[in-house]
Amino acid sequence: MRWRFILNIVGILILFLGISMIFPLFFGFYYKDQSVIPLLKSMGITIAAGFLLNICFRKQRVDLISHREGMAIVAIGWTAIGLFGALPFYLGAEFSTFVDAFFESVSGFTTTGSSILTNIEAVSKGILFWRSFIQWLGGMGIIVLSVAILPFLGVGGMQLYKAEVPSPVPDKLKPRIRDTAMILWKVYALISLAEVILLMIGGMDLYNALCHSFTTMPTGGFSTKNASIAHYDSVYFDSVIIFFMLLAGINFSLHYQFLRGKPLAFWRDSECRFFLGAVLVLIVIVTFNIYGTVYETIGRALRFGAFQVVSIVTTTGYATADYELWPVMSQLILLLCMFLGASAGSTGGGMKCLRVMLYLKYCYKELFSLIHPHAVKHIKIGGETVPEDVVRSVLGFMGLYIGLFAFSSVLIASMGVDFITSIAAVAATIGNIGPGLGMVGPVDNYAQIPYLGKWVLIWCMLLGRLEIYTVIILLVPEFWRK
């Protein structure tokens, strides 16, 4: 482990973050609100800190980054970005303690969307824009962005990319990682732009359209309104946002193929079929469950049922209805959706459909070999055999995910939080969804979680965003051994 080197790269990331504070500052100046001073201060501190780190630990020669260093850079980098990203919140008027600001910042970068704020609309526009913008940065990955933009990361970029986007079967769209990262960001920006335009056609002003696009595409879920999307109460907005949440939940390499003129790309991909199929079935079940019990017309049941299912399964976390008033069966389905999550290679969180698919196929294979003890059978996805070690790593991931979920919810419960809230808060943060159930439901927020509980949840959000291994590996003593 070359610490100077790691800290140097982290310094560059921080510098980068500082520069990106120019965007909320622009809105701060435009609306002439009280966010200008805190934003300027945080920008100064962040740039200075990044610059100092970069200067103090100037590296002699850029070499290959080892697998281990890649993980350390990403894990440390994300924590640092969370810390510095919290500065505008902390220096502004709305957050009283640092842990609240840090929670909000990490919740932003990890595209979770859990909020501490009780009255969002009272917050200044500049700060609110920053809150949405960090979700957009974190969605496709701030490190993927730096790999795309900063040329010197080219050689080691791959290790960083793999640590930040740990897909079970990695896609490389172009021979060079820099080009791959660039393509992903371009596709991401393009779809976000399309959403801004569609929202503005529906009558949203530029500021809110930008903020909502910036939180839909990364499946983040921060809204600028207290009532989230329910504020607009519009079928048009609901459907546009459902559509873009679904896009965000699909593997971005499929979007790229689609844009390159392969319209069947979505259909050919078995994970995408599984994802869309699961969404459809769940919408139908939830709609029939809430039709008659909560909503009188089938149309309204479908509208709110579909929005909530898509919002949770893509791990966005917008709300158009208080689903805590729904029958228990629907609530339970939504809770389970938090575990399923979106596709691998998308901006969504959760365990990811591909892993769940692999896991189900593995279970079937076990049953099959009980019936035919001599059978030779491979696990196949889309007609191709999945290598044994990939299967093992997926099983390991599922085990760790469930284990960490159990451990963290017991921790939260030990602080006196009630049963439902403990489970749902952890499920909603480790899966990067946002709203949970109970005290942290769609119309509540995380302000009432005890002090230590917030730290636990911050940790859960980072675990979920970097897909467990990159974060948890730092706790393994073997990792630090020379």
């Binding site: 290959l64 697998h67 080219g154 050689v155 970029g157 791959m158 990695p170 490389k172 172009k174 021979p175 060079r176 990682i177 820099r178 080009d179 290598p387």
Partner: protein, 454 residues
């Protein structure tokens, strides 16, 4: 520029990493998932697990946009078929196959002329014999490259304490030796490549690369205290295919050759095929055999067995027993940095020779030949300067070359010019350019892009 490499063995891996560092789009294909994983973990290239001779896999790899296909798997047949299939899908792609079977030797030219699907066959054994020949011809050289059909040589030599120039500034060489200083293109010191200026000193332990015309080479070498001693007696240890090839060549040049081989059947075969060379049955690390055969009188001992550890030990033993010079065959790249530490500077490797030859075919435009220097931080290229190029018609010092680039020679018909700042490149001149790795893509552009448009 897109390059597809079939085969992720040592040669494939090495070329891929070389090209990835030059920012080329590289796709590596191999059947072995473990080899593919190793490649994708270590270098920034795209990888495909599959057979390189399959049309489906080649199309997936993007053969239609690829400029070059390099087939370097262990199997000659796969390499040939991969080129054939690639040709059917994309005939404009240049195809290079590595073929090791000596049965093809006679037919390299025939293949080039009559098999349109293969542009070049490369046999590492032939290449390594050429390398050995070059090393033997230049005393003290560790690395020799030839340009302008051999009229210009690019030579790397080690400076040790006994050399007068150790510790001397480049600008003082003339006072010191009374001879004009050779054009020193690069110095490798502690694995680091330096382009020296007049004020820089040469140090003991440096590997110095200089350029020289062939007829002035001996004078230049004298500056470095390396003197020619004619090679009259050669001992080859290991009578495999390379050993046989080399012995054959030495026989033709009337060099007295002895060849030691362990396997008695192989000895019989060698004795049948060779006329003048002495074939000895025995172990190349057997001290008694070596002294019996007067190893102390040998000008060069070349160890070429298939076992590299044996080669290293045999070379060390020969050196200790008084052989003037040794050349050692090594396969593992990881041993290279060790070799100069233990005093074996002349090292050859069939793979490295193959890589160097393949590199020449990758350089595009009017690049005639290319040679990568010892630790691959830089390359020397020979190219034709066309009228349309920016570098023609003005003094060199007025041309803005990218950093780390040096024009080290201009060849005008029969004349070889070692240039100064005032020299002017004329159209149709052949120029020899030394370029650091970072500058290679830019140099390729200067030499190639302009030409392609006109």
């Amino acid at each position: 520029m897109k390059v597809i490499i079939v085969g992720a063995g040592e040669v494939g891996f090495h070329i891929a990493s070389h090209l990835a560092l030059e920012n080329k789009d590289v796709v590596v294909i191999d059947k072995d998932p473990a080899a593919i994983r190793y490649v994708s973990d270590n270098i920034d290239v795209q990888t495909i697990n599959g057979s390189g001779s399959s049309p489906v896999v080649l199309v997936e790899a993007g053969i239609k946009e690829a400029e070059i296909l390099l087939a370097v798997t262990n199997s000659d047949e796969t390499n040939l078929v991969a080129c054939l299939v690639a040709n059917i899908i994309s005939s404009s792609t240049k195809k290079v196959a590595r073929v090791r079977n000596s049965d093809y030797d006679e037919y390299h030219d025939t293949f080039r002329d009559h098999a349109p699907h293969i542009d070049t066959l490369i046999n590492p054994e032939i290449e390594v014999v050429k390398t050995i020949e070059r090393l033997m011809s230049v005393p003290g050289a560790v690395d020799v490259g030839e340009f302008a059909d051999g009229r210009v040589k690019f030579v790397g030599i080690h400076i040790d304490e006994s050399v007068r120039l150790a510790g001397i500034r480049l600008s003082e060489i003339y006072e010191m030796t009374g001879k004009k200083s050779p054009l020193i293109a690069a110095v490798i010191r502690n694995e680091e490549l330096i382009i020296p200026r007049g004020n820089d000193r040469l140090m003991a332990g440096d590997l110095v690369y200089f350029i020289s015309e062939e007829d002035k080479l001996l004078d230049t070498l004298a500056v470095f205290d390396k003197h020619v001693e004619p090679i009259g007696r050669v001992l080859i240890i290991g009578g495999g295919r390379i050993g046989f090839r080399l012995a054959n060549l030495l026989e033709e040049n009337s060099v007295y050759t002895k060849i030691i081989e362990k396997d008695s059947d192989r000895c019989t075969e060698l004795a049948e095929q060779l006329n003048k060379a002495v074939v000895l049955h025995g172990d190349g690390t057997d001290q008694e055999l070596l002294s019996e055969e007067n190893i102390q009188d040998m000008d060069v001992v070349i160890t070429l067995t298939d076992d590299e550890e044996t080669n290293i030990l045999a070379s060390l033993l020969a050196k200790r027993m008084g052989a003037r010079k040794t050349i050692t065959r090594i396969t593992k790249f990881s041993y290279f940095p060790l070799m100069s530490m233990i005093g074996l500077e002349q090292v050859v490797s069939p793979r490295l020779s193959a890589i160097n030859t393949i590199l020449q075919h990758i350089r595009r435009g009017k690049v005639l030949s290319a040679k990568s220097i010892k630790n691959e931080q830089a390359e020397v290229m020979e190219a034709v300067a066309l009228e349309t190029s920016d570098i023609v018609g003005k003094p060199l010092k007025k041309i803005s070359f990218p950093k780390g680039v040096l024009v080290t020679g201009i060849i005008r018909q029969d004349e070889v010019i070692i240039p100064s700042g005032e020299s002017v490149i004329e159209p149709e001149d052949r120029i020899i350019i030394f370029a650091k790795r970072q500058a290679i893509p830019k140099i390729e552009k200067i030499l190639a892009v302009k030409l392609e448009y006109f």
